[in-house]
Symmetry: C2
């Protein structure tokens, strides 16, 4: 059976929790047959990553004071398996060659294998949630998880719809990033809270706060691509522009920019990296700035972040949940490596 570390005894920091969670993942990754089905599951789960969702689950849990660490770890594992299921399937849909610097599952194996291994992961998510949940909590956990999972799939659909269109309503774009990124972060905080015995209404507020945080991070991520300090973000500046990725900045500039500016943007984003559209990257960055898109996106990101903090302030944290969440937020904002 799985090794389930006990949180209460010694775990106060993200690093300790993350190490503990890696132990849970390692046990989960024991070989299973048929290997053609299960090897990709082990592969994707062991590519690492920051384990943000399990850490949010652990933080939500410590807003409460119920002792069921084993159940919480199992739920945290379910959320990480779900996240990785969505990566495997999204990478096929997005035709992505790399994930965390390694070949994606459909590249390392093939598309049928990536589809089927994703499916078995999704099926296993429900087994884990079902095993984790005491009978009285199970219907609620499944309901909240369902809400989350539907949001993630709808977000991926809207993302594909957005990529095909250059005139996307801003509200639709926000709905997209809400599903694609934020809903699962909120769900992880909420489900962790429910396992910690946080009252249902407070757990829902944890979800709302997590969704606001997630959207804020996503908007900031888009903003930093053009306006951030590459030395601090550690990312290639203008990477989104070079890849013609239609981020929040693009959509806001299409809504706010002048007609000539919009025309240049359209030409650029319809071109491919091998085309020579006769436009400089710096010109696009300048339009994103002058159109007011940069300021608008930054303002929205800040407002959502503040909204999350107000919500979080209203929820009692019985153990170290609030401190853990602060550590996690600092890390995600790049203020802590």
């Amino acid at each position: 059976m799985y090794f389930y570390p006990n949180i209460q005894v010694y775990m106060q920091t993200l690093r300790q929790l993350r190490d503990a969670f890696e132990g849970v993942v390692t046990t989960y990754c024991s070989p299973r047959t048929p290997s053609g089905l299960y090897d990709p599951v082990v592969y994707i789960l062991q590519l690492g990553g920051k384990r943000v969702r399990p850490m949010l689950c652990a933080a939500g849990y410590q807003f409460g004071d119920r002792d069921q660490d084993k159940a919480m770890w199992t739920a945290a594992l379910a959320l990480e398996v779900f996240h990785n299921f969505s990566l495997v399937h999204d990478d096929i849909m997005d035709n992505a060659p790399l994930r965390r610097g390694h070949p994606t599952v459909h590249q390392a194996w093939n598309t049928p294998t990536a589809i089927l291994s994703g499916d078995i992961m999704l099926i296993d998510v429900y087994r884990l949630l079902s095993e984790a949940s005491p009978a009285d909590l199970l219907p609620l956990v499944l309901d909240r998880f369902h809400h989350t999972a539907v949001g993630v799939c709808e977000g991926q659909q809207l993302d594909m719809d957005c990529e095909e269109s250059s005139q996307v309503e801003w509200s639709d774009y926000l709905t997209m990033i809400r599903g694609k990124t934020a809903v699962l972060l909120g769900g992880a905080l909420e489900i962790g809270g429910l396992f910690g015995g946080v009252p249902v209404n407070d757990a829902r507020l944890l979800s709302d706060a997590g969704v606001s945080l997630g959207m804020s991070f996503q908007l900031m991520d888009d903003w930093l691509d053009t306006f951030g300090d590459a030395a601090k973000t550690g990312k290639l500046q203008f990477g989104d522009i070079l890849r013609r990725k239609k981020t929040a900045l693009f959509h806001q500039a299409m809504a706010l920019g002048s007609s000539p500016h919009r025309e240049i943007l359209e030409r650029w984003y319809k071109s491919t990296p091998v085309d020579r559209p006769g436009i400089q990257v710096a010109e696009i960055a300048s339009i994103l700035d002058k159109s007011g898109a940069g300021d608008a996106v930054l303002e929205q990101a800040q407002s959502m972040h503040e909204n999350a903090l107000v919500l979080l302030d209203s929820i009692p944290s019985r153990r170290g949940g609030r401190e853990l969440l602060n550590q996690l937020m600092a890390e995600l904002q790049g203020r802590d490596s």
Copy 2:
């Protein structure tokens, strides 16, 4: 909300149950947005089919005497949605252009849409099961469904493995058809039984009987391709041979046949329909016969069918479950159109 017909009042025949179930499907197929995600769900569910799994669920239910028709119909819907999820994803993996005479979802839309719509169907299966189940039944229903769903995925993996190999152990082949076809039939009978209040042990026997029946039908289906009367089966004779489908007959002939016969089989099954391997279809059929493969497969199919009947005889049927199951078996065996 859904329209849930009441079984007890008037439904005695498969036809009545099937009509009632179509009403449940129609209500489920109300439009949802984003349409890019949900339209394919409606499309595949409305391609029809014999609704074998919901009918097995209804038959299992009537082995018991508990009155919760609404829950049973919701579970039956969950099983049909799951079956259609597996069709959508399997059709991508198998590169199939047609399903029930219509374009498959990945043909009518595209592969990303087919992946994502399949995912949302699988997620919705768990919502339906969760909504259907009274709290005391939910963990058991999820556990039994999990067993079923894992079997189906493992079966699809083994099917892909089998297609790539010409030396498949007979036991592996049986495991494959068990997962690919039979497990879900058993699961439908069992889950229906649980909703009908059939005791857990008897419900498990219903599952075993359903699995045996499913394997028997699958083996008979393979046998009929070569040895059946096309006028009765309604299928193109030798269709599996022409498509180079490695059915039970092929695997048995590879195990039982002489070395020259095996060599001819290998040449045929490695060729494609546009090749001219210098072998007649009738010669392959003759080898399948002379090798003893035909008799061996027929014997196995009959033995599994008898095993199912013995199991079923041991389970009390409180309402019309046994009669319904007999109707369904007759229909599946082609003795009743």
